[in-house]
Symmetry: C2
Subunit: 367 residues, 2 copies
């Protein structure tokens, strides 16, 4: 250990992992999960056209991908009625959150987020020495008014809000977000994480001009488009901020298969519509399963359903442990009072049948 000469900041960081993957759990269980419903992946999979495009790109993978992502950025710009210079593409929203934090946060700089919200953002902030200020949820929603009040008090450089929210599945209507943007102090850039927006009700996306310097929006091909394992996220923001990513990003980091798959997926909006319908149906079924077991499904604008088990975090954790032992992978919020819930991704019929069979047994055992 004596030879390790990390920076003082790096030395101070824990080697923790933000999420333990299901494969790690499978290795300790000694068998694969029967139902993979914990990572909000899309069991409907990607568009068949995207699968075909990725298979074709595999034969061309001896070539680096275009470091400027010209075609993909042009297609995204057309899709969002903005210009390519409003778009940044990166290695998932996780990767882009890392780059943005690096651009904006030096040791001691402040950020504001919600207590219990997506943990990869604080992981990056801590990694660059930033100070994280957390605001509680209001019921099962992130609380825009409290986030604004906190930002006005602390003048952070970044404020994070996911809409729809993970892990609760709740959402705010677009105008609520617009009001929040208008009320933030001028020092604060809003990170609007819209990973689940493709699955949310109409009107969830706020009207924000791509040139608006107060907001950076994040989108992904991991959820609605069903390509979590491809690692393609993108941001929409003002061109000067978009350009700043070029100062630090891994310029050849987006591979050839990733670019081809994303391009084909974006072109197949019919597939996305089918996924949306399938997700709505799956949410209804998960809500019915929750009801049948005396739990309450929270309203969801995502591809998962958060179920209030009506007791405390210990009970929910015990239930989750039992489900894991029965071969069902689900997750749950990490902090009270959100941790009274389980978070179950929408699955196909086979996976939901298994969940329906196992949930009552798990609850029984946890009691």
């Amino acid at each position: 250990m004596t030879a390790l000469r990390l920076t003082p900041l790096a030395a101070s960081l824990p080697s923790t992992v933000p999420f333990v993957g299901p494969e790690t759990q499978e290795r300790s269980l000694g068998r694969p999960f029967r139902a993979r419903l914990g990572a909000n992946e899309s069991l409907f999979g990607p568009s068949p056209h995207a699968i075909a495009a990725m298979a074709k790109a595999a034969t061309e993978v001896w070539m680096y991908g275009d470091p400027e992502l010209f075609e993909l950025k042009a297609a995204l710009a057309a899709h969002h009625a903005c210009r390519p210079d409003h778009i940044v593409v990166g290695e998932g929203i996780d990767g882009l959150l890392g780059y943005l934090t690096r651009l904006m946060i030096a040791p001691g700089d402040k950020v504001v987020t919600s207590l219990g919200a997506y943990p990869t953002f604080p992981f990056h902030v801590a990694g660059f020495g930033g100070e994280i200020i957390r605001v509680p949820y209001k019921g099962d929603h992130e609380d825009p008014e409290a986030l604004v009040a906190c930002a006005r008090a602390h003048r952070p450089k970044l404020v994070y809000l996911a809409n729809p929210d993970n892990p609760m599945g709740s959402h705010h209507a677009g105008p609520v977000i617009e009001a929040m943007v208008a009320a933030l102090p001028p020092e604060s850039l809003l990170i609007l994480d819209e990973a689940y927006i493709d699955l949310a009700p109409p009107g969830t996306a706020p009207m924000i001009a791509p040139d608006d310097p107060r907001v950076i929006r994040f989108r992904t091909f991991s959820k609605g488009y069903g390509m979590a394992g491809l690692r393609v996220g993108y941001a929409i923001c003002a061109p000067d901020l978009a350009r700043a990513f070029d100062k630090i990003r891994n310029h050849f980091g987006m591979g050839r298969i990733a670019q081809a798959g994303a391009l084909a997926a974006l072109a197949d909006q019919d597939w996305l519509a089918k996924v949306r319908a399938g997700v709505a149906e799956g949410r209804d079924r998960l809500a019915a399963i929750a009801r049948a077991n005396g739990a309450t499904a929270l309203p969801s604008a995502t591809n998962f359903v958060t179920m209030d088990l009506g007791r405390d975090g210990d009970f929910a954790r015990a239930t989750l442990r039992e489900l894991t032992g029965l071969g069902v992978f689900v997750r749950m919020p990490g902090v009270a009072p959100l941790d009274r819930c389980l978070r179950v991704s929408v699955g196909d019929k086979a996976a939901l049948d298994i969940f329906e069979d196992c949930l009552p047994r798990a609850l029984q055992a946890a009691r």
Copy 2:
């Protein structure tokens, strides 16, 4: 612009791109290149088994990849007769260089590299505020003795050496590197970039114990394995350093197709042997083409041939421009005196036929 609140370090960085991609050049030319020989990609492509594995993984890409890369790390450990905890896998060597620099370099910390060596390392060092000290090449080789002398004088935290070297294609025998490791000051970690090692003569890889805290070795699936567009690199180093990457890396950054492709490619060492034979043949042909045009092919331990055109940088740049205009993508070293050369990747017969046809015309026009 007024709203951008970058860190002072980020604000000071240029938005330059380390390499302009061939696609960017094709867009300004208005047509695709006829021969793509500039990025040291493998025109032999990846193993057919790897292509099949990637196509299969495309159907499973709705799942995140294993964030611990268990199977790939186990296979790499078996291949290198080390343990999985000696291995770090990341988004190409470029991505891993970024992580390592972030772990080790705070503003003002020093690094030593060679003047004209791989530019992505200084890109990352500048990005974290490090001070870059450059040592000239000795002839067409990086100069281990001068690098050691410079390190002894300046006590840098990192010393970079590529063996074989890019852009010159030269190499040192393993014992030269071993002597360099023994002579470095205790403050300095050697980054040994072995991107091209799969194509080098036997004896090029030094004997270094994976536990040796003085060295981190980088390898890649981009060159010999022919998967530049997949973005999979890895490091071999002491476990405490390997573990430190977990403090900051994009834990879900390695996708499902990338992991599957790398695993299958590693398993097909017969394919690598075929590529090695094809590369050797291609180097011979490129040397003959150089000779026939009054140029000198430098000895190469890589999948490219660096050709000394026998005049100055302006002449080489003019020749490169002409080749570009003729639809041939090649690159050249950026600094004198290395910039008297062109760097031409080994291609298949069709691509080398085009290069053979175009080189005399380009030289003629440049004269």
